[in-house]
Each structure stands twice: as structure tokens, then as C-alpha cells.
Symmetry: C2
Subunit: 213 residues, 2 copies
């Protein structure tokens, strides 16, 4: 199944919708309208309907969506009906914060190992996750069938870590280092530049852009 035409913004919103649906489901709510989803997550109702329409018809006119079904369907679209083992490279503050981040675990991302070059950190545990030396990277990726790697090292080391992850057959990389890195076409890459978010805020302040939330 190929879905080249789904905009990334839609995928982001699906992720937000599914989190909201998960909460509703836990509260025992059975059905919901697109208007209520829109209200709950702060997106327009037309946008919600358009986003969900990419994936076929879910709702019943006048009744709305079945919360459990819609939630499951979105999780499946996002690839979240299985759990994903993840390795984090860099056991500094950011790497540690990521290990503590509830948002990952809740969504099926299990950090199975951390890696660092600092001898003081190697073989220690952070939140129950062992920090290994870089030499063990290949073995652990293979053993734990890891497909995703998170880069949380200083900018100047980001490319060499990416190269190492690629060499060890990682499918997808999330890069937190403020550096442009390159990977082969077959590897998925996302750069999370934390300051871009602040810059969108300053742009909006300086240019009087209305808040979209």
C-alpha cells in the first residue's frame, strides 16, 4: 500500500487525533462527531473531516464516529499497532529527558538502549535503560531488532553517528542535533530543530499573525 499524497501536516494531526481518541476511549465514550474532535484538539471541523477522508469513510452521518474503531484505525495508519524498539545515541540531558518522556512509552516507542562515549556513563542505567559504549551499537540493534535511532549528541558528531546508524541498518533516524545531516534515500530522517519552534513564535509576534490554536 502506497500513500504518497498524504500531507505530513495531516499525519501530524492524525497523531493528535489518536491521542485525543485514546483519552475519550478510556473515559468510556462511544461515539464522537468531527465537530467534537475539532473542538477537543483545536483544529477546524472541516479540516478534521478532510484529514479522515484520506483514509476512507469512517463516520455515519448524523451519528458520528465510533471512538474505539476510529482510534484503532488511526493507530494502524500510523504504524502504532506494534511496538517499536528505539535506541538513543547520547546519554546527556537531552537523551535522558527523552528516556523519561512519557509521550514515547504511551505510543509504543520503547527505548531499549542508550549509547555514549563517556566512560563515566557507560554500563550505568538511566531510568532502567542501560547506557552502552558505541562499540556495542551494531550488536544491540541486531539483537533487539531496532529500526529507529534517535540522535541526541552535540552537532559536530551528528553526521558520524548517522553514518554509524545507517551502516547498522537502521530504517529511520530522528535527529535532535542542530546540524544538517545526510542519509541514503532509503533511510527515513527527521530533523527536530528545537529553535525553529521559537522562531515561528517570534515570526508570529513580529508579524501579528493570529494564533492558530
Amino acid at each position: 500500500m502506497k500513500m504518497f499524497k498524504i500531507p505530513e501536516a495531516t499525519v501530524s494531526r492524525l497523531s493528535v487525533y489518536s491521542r485525543f481518541l485514546s483519552k475519550l476511549d478510556k473515559k468510556g465514550i462511544i461515539t464522537i462527531s468531527s465537530g467534537e474532535i475539532a473542538e477537543g484538539v483545536g483544529v477546524g471541523a472541516a479540516q478534521v473531516r478532510k484529514d479522515l477522508a484520506y483514509f476512507g469513510e469512517f463516520g455515519t452521518r448524523g451519528v458520528g464516529y465510533n471512538v474505539k474503531d476510529l482510534h484503532q484505525h488511526i493507530l494502524k495508519i500510523l504504524g502504532l499497532t506494534t511496538s517499536w524498539p528505539v535506541v538513543v545515541i547520547g546519554a546527556g540531558n537531552l537523551g535522558t529527558a527523552l528516556c523519561l518522556y512519557d509521550g514515547f512509552r504511551e505510543r509504543g516507542f520503547n527505548i531499549v538502549a542508550m549509547f555514549d562515549v563517556d566512560p563515566l556513563k557507560i554500563d550505568k542505567e538511566i531510568e532502567g535503560i542501560t547506557v552502552y559504549s558505541m562499540e556495542k551499537l551494531g550488536d544491540i540493534i541486531k539483537e533487539k531488532e531496532v529500526k529507529m535511532g534517535v540522535i541526541a549528541v552535540p552537532a559536530e558528531y551528528a553526521q558520524q553517528i548517522a553514518d554509524l546508524l545507517v551502516k547498522n541498518n537502521i530504517c529511520a533516524i530522528l535527529n535532535f542535533a542542530p546540524a544538517v545531516i545526510k542519509v541514503p534515500e532509503e533511510v527515513q530522517l527527521r530533523n527536530v530543530d528545537l529553535s525553529v519552534n521559537l522562531e515561528i513564535l517570534t515570526f508570529n509576534i513580529v508579524n501579528n499573525v493570529k494564533n492558530l490554536y
Copy 2:
């Protein structure tokens, strides 16, 4: 000056372009073509031209853009020709990682104070930044003319921290807590949900979406 029609994706890319131009400028490079910018940041050349065209004509046909001028112009558009004092609420691992994050300082975001409720953290310094008790929030925002606040607390406290920031006249909030928070229309808000990034990757893996980088 109002610019309601600039897509947020364009603003994000402007941020990326300006980082690239800053590097070129430091290397003493005088002019650059849209094709070279495109190549350098991993975006299509047509996209680069389209993004820059939102803000008028910069380039000279056949010559390209003047690196220094284009860089300065983009910084101005992004509101980055002045420095922005920022407060961080939550002095845990994430808050600490943000204080250490070079990407902020480089772009003119100065974290002037951190806040926490933990008596063991209050009045200590992290990377030269003092951690204050929440009671001091209003005074420090006023004294240091802070317009931006970063929320790096557990999800369950995010809304009450947002309310406090709003009460103390913060213009813009960057929220790292995995929680939906609400603010009045006149306050800028961005939610950084770190797991959304992983979910876009799993979506791309599961649906065989081509890597866009």
C-alpha cells in the same frame, strides 16, 4: 505589517535557510543561487524561490542572492534581529537540556531564568542560569522584559503553568509537555510533541513513503 498568508512550513524553511546562510557568510561566501541553497538544505530549488518570493525580490537573475543581505532580511522577517529573553518552567532533564541547547543561544534566544517547585533545585544554577521558585515568576518576567515562556513540566501541570504565564503577560508559549493546553487568542502557543516526530517516521516506514530529505 500583516502577513496572514505565509504558510508555517515556509516560516520553518526560512529558519533553515537563514542558518545555512549564516554558515556561508562566516565562510566569506558573497553570492549564492537558489539551486545552491536548495542543495545545501535539502529542499527543491523551486520551493526555495517560492518561499523567498513571499517577501519580495531579493535575487538578481544570473547572479543569485547576496548572502549577507538575504541572511539579514530573513532574520528580520523572523524577528531575530533583536534578542529574546526566555524563561523555562521546569528544571528537570528536559529544561536542563534546553538550557544547554546551543541552537537557542545562536539564534538570539537567551534563557534568563528557570523555575521549579523542587526546593533542592531552587536557588541553584544550571549552566549559569538560576533556578527560581514559582513565586518569583511574575517579578522576573517584568524585570527582564520576558515575552516567551517554555513549558518543560510533567503533562499534568502544563495547563496551570500556562495559566500562570498568561496571567503574567507572556506573549508566546512553547509547550513541551505532552498535553493539550488552552490559552487566550492573543497569546501565541506552539506544542512540541516529541513523539509526533517518531510517528511520522513510523507512518513513512509502514506506508513506504519516500524520504523527503
